[in-house]
Subunit: 109 residues, 2 copies
DNA sequence: TGCGACAATGTCACAATTGACATATCGTGC
DNA sequence: GCACGATATGTCAATTGTGACATTGTCGCA
């Protein structure tokens, strides 16, 4: 790839950096929320499968029952980092996480 | 599943909540770092594939060049949330993210 | 009915992450 | 050698996430 092409792409990138860039971000935010919801569902599913309470999980995570509840409710104040840590502590493997990411449903869309 | 079984699991959960729970957490932390590294690699790969600079990406993300650099370096101060948003803004689909998660050794590099 | 375990929701002080900026380093063409 | 664009690294004030706590709601059981 030569320089002039890169420059053209860059300036295009700058333009979408204002208008379309904004749209791109909100789209990304939406997708991120999707992810959080999926992970929160996976978290609850895994916890219930283990038959442990939110408080028990909280201890393993060195967190609190209320935060676990917020995680499972996909509360805006919980980070992906925390959700992931929760899943991992519950024994989720990268494979499981990946599966959870592209949704419980494979058909329809 | 009956109550007594749940109770046994719970108390077991409590015990590992101290000793093994600590191990479990650090394991989870390690896995989380793995994830971050993988995502940071995917981010750089995607950005380069688009032929845009860190600064251009920063604009689309409403962030700064220095933070993009830190993202691609998997700096401890960057969150998974931010890495994900970066990937999504670069057009990554859930499928792509999932792929990046379980390592670069999936499909052709 | 009341009790006990579990979960949801709100709040807050404290800790972590953020964008921005300055500066340093690297690579390439002149 | 120098200039340049791109990237790396360090710092810091402001924003955001966090654990902890209190409170309330829910469900099953005796």
């Amino acid at each position: 790839m030569d320089k002039s092409k890169q420059r053209r792409l860059e300036s295009a990138g700058w333009r979408v950096g204002t208008a379309a860039g904004f749209l791109g971000l909100t789209e990304a935010e939406a997708a991120l929320v999707e992810f959080k919801v999926r992970l929160s569902e996976a978290l609850r599913a895994r916890r219930l499968a283990r038959g442990i309470s939110q408080e028990a999980l909280a201890k393993q995570l060195r967190s609190s029952q209320s935060r676990i509840a917020k995680m499972e409710a996909a509360d805006p104040t919980v980070s992906l980092d925390l959700l992931l840590r929760g899943l991992l502590v519950l024994g989720a493997k990268p494979r499981d996480v990946a599966k959870a990411l592209h949704g419980p449903k494979r058909a329809a869309a």
